[in-house]
């Protein structure tokens, strides 16, 4: 089972690689005259990570006048189609890192490359699922999902049709007319997921999206996410403080140290087969071994984090 899963994944990867190479060949033909430069650029583009953070440092100016360094020299590559979970103690700057990848917030220093191109301004290739409620409260579920298409110029009727289809995919076919306050927390997250995915972003940024949900709903939402993701693999940056959730969902788990000046201190590949069921995968031996291993590294940082934030 595990072997076949790994194989499947490998197959997918090489396919993606092939597609990428084809793309670069096209580019090379287009700019034959540029010669060596084009070739070098093409080489760079082959296998260019969906998100590449290089030496990213993020500092905030404090109201007192000082400088608070949240993240120090972070180095993180997320390949196309790869699901990466970022785990760290509270207040370690995980969200900040995500905001930088989204282009909502410029890093103080370092480079952010999206598919090999330096990010300037908002990351147009990314969809962002926020931790807190981000739906428009004055729009119905259907309007909330359709809005991302409408802003891009899709005619309203077509946008609504596609939004309805997406609502059905997240299991809310009959809830389109409801306003967010009439939906449960889990349902709101489903709408949020549809709202982001309908635009078909190449990169999915998720900031503890299932944090406020109860355990059962988290599990269901996790499985829904994996279903949707496996149908159309996007690069995912999934921030969470829940190590179990991180391992169950992702291909790679990245650990951050406690802030200030949080660093990335560990990077584990998750050897679990796909497709996965969140509940079942947690019974796997490999899951437990990996969990123990990562927890060893994480524990001291979590304690440090608690000591610094006073448990908050």
């Amino acid at each position: 089972m595990a072997g076949s899963g790994a194989h499947l994944q490998l197959g997918y990867r090489s396919l993606a690689f092939g597609a990428n190479r084809g793309h670069s060949v096209c580019r090379m033909r287009g700019s034959m005259a540029a010669g060596a430069t084009a070739e070098a650029e093409a080489r760079n583009r082959v296998g260019a990570a969906a998100v590449a953070l290089t030496d990213v440092t993020i500092a905030f100016r404090l109201s007192g006048g000082g400088l608070y360094e949240a993240v120090a020299r972070a180095l993180l590559n997320v390949a196309d189609g790869e699901f990466v979970a970022i785990v760290g103690p509270t207040g370690c700057g995980k969200t900040t890192l995500l905001n930088v990848a989204a282009g909502l917030f410029p890093p103080s220093s370092g480079r952010v490359n999206i598919f090999g191109t330096a990010l300037a301004g908002l990351n147009r290739q990314a969809g962002y699922l926020f931790q807190s409620d981000a739906l428009f409260p004055w729009k119905t579920a259907l309007e909330n999902v359709a809005i991302g298409l409408e802003t891009a110029g899709t005619p309203q009727s077509e946008a609504r049709d596609r939004a309805q289809a997406w609502l059905a995919r997240v299991g809310l076919a009959h809830f389109g007319a409801r306003y967010p306050h009439m939906l449960s927390g889990g349902q709101r997250k489903r709408v949020g997921l549809a709202q982001v995915l309908i635009r078909d972003p190449k990169i999915l940024l998720m900031d503890e999206p299932f944090g406020p949900l109860d355990a059962q709903t988290r599990q269901i939402m996790g499985n829904l996410l994996l279903d949707l993701w496996s149908a159309d693999r996007k690069a995912v940056m999934f921030v969470t403080h829940d190590l179990e959730e991180a391992i169950a969902l992702s291909d790679r788990v990245v650990i951050m140290s406690a802030g200030p000046a949080a660093r990335i201190i560990g990077d584990w590949r998750v050897p679990l087969a796909r497709p996965r069921d969140i509940a079942e995968v947690k019974l796997d031996r490999a899951f437990h071994e990996l969990h123990r291993e990562i927890w060893q590294a994480l524990k001291s940082e979590v304690l440090k984090g608690y000591a610094q934030t006073g448990g908050g």
């Binding site: 909502l104 807190s132 428009f136 409260p137 004055w138 119905t140």
Partner: protein, 263 residues
């Protein structure tokens, strides 16, 4: 359902008891003296007869209409100005900062003192009352819209930007609905103040309207007329308030109702 019936009965009881006490104190001598002389307090019956007479003769309609027109104009003009300027200030923090002390100053001013100047400027017709109402409505709407634009959730805003909205779309899909929701939530207050502006304006100098009616009655010590005017005004305000509640329910369907608990 039974509670609603009981509630209505109890509410009715309060009205009947109050009227009864009023009636007894003004008409029945207790220990040889009426406690409330009818000359100063009138009697419920006289007041009721006066109200019936006004409506039977049809003279009241003209005054009601004038007051309604003044209140409506004050509400519409004050709201439009409040929305526009509130929006503008919220988008331009520097402009807002420059005007801030003056806005505070004018808002701190009791608006009644402006009535004489408005009468001088706009005459005794409806426009001096409209102007007074506008100064009351404007600030309520202005502060609410300003707040509404300022207090858009940063997450919702970030989400809107990530969903690809440009500035114009942000305005239309985020700032505008947020500002309007704040404005609508103050609808009761602003409509109420529009009526207050109209009536107070009439009271201070006019040729028609409910305030004028009350002032006229007062001028000839016609206490029944004063009370009758007050009752008509109260009924008028309750009807308008009921309409506002209906409009509000339509416009704010997306808002959670505080008493309603959903998970």
């Amino acid at each position: 359902m039974p509670w609603r019936v009981t509630l209505f009965m109890l509410q009715l009881l309060v009205a009947i008891a109050s009227l009864l006490i009023w009636h007894i104190l003004t008409t029945v001598p207790i220990f040889g003296a009426t406690i409330l002389p009818p000359f100063f307090f009138s009697t419920p019956l006289d007041v009721a007869l006066r109200v019936v007479k006004w409506f039977a003769e049809g003279t009241i309609w003209k005054h009601l209409w004038i007051t309604l027109v003044e209140a409506m104009l004050a509400f519409v003009l004050g709201s439009v100005a409040g929305v526009l300027i509130g929006f503008w200030f919220a988008q331009q923090p520097r402009t807002a900062a420059v005007f801030d002390p003056y806005v505070k100053m004018i808002n701190a001013l009791p608006r009644i003192v402006l009535a004489p100047i408005f009468t001088l400027w706009f005459g005794l017709g409806i426009w001096s009352k409209v102007a007074l109402g506008v100064t009351l409505v404007f600030f309520i709407v202005f502060f609410n819209v300003y707040q509404g634009v300022k207090e858009v959730s940063p997450t919702v805003l970030a989400n809107a930007r990530m969903l690809g909205m440009n500035d114009r779309q942000l305005m239309r899909h985020v700032y505008w609905p947020s500002a309007l929701s704040w404005m609508f939530s103050s609808l009761h207050t602003s409509v109420g103040f529009a009526v207050v502006g109209a009536v107070v304006g009439e009271y201070l100098g006019s040729a028609a309207g409910l305030g004028y009616l009350i002032l006229q009655a007062e001028g000839i010590f016609d206490v029944a007329g004063v009370f009758a005017g007050m009752f008509v005004l109260a009924a008028f305000v309750i009807i308008i308030d009921g309409l506002v509640t209906r409009v509000e329910k339509r416009l704010l369907v997306w808002r959670p109702i505080a008493a309603e608990t959903r998970t």
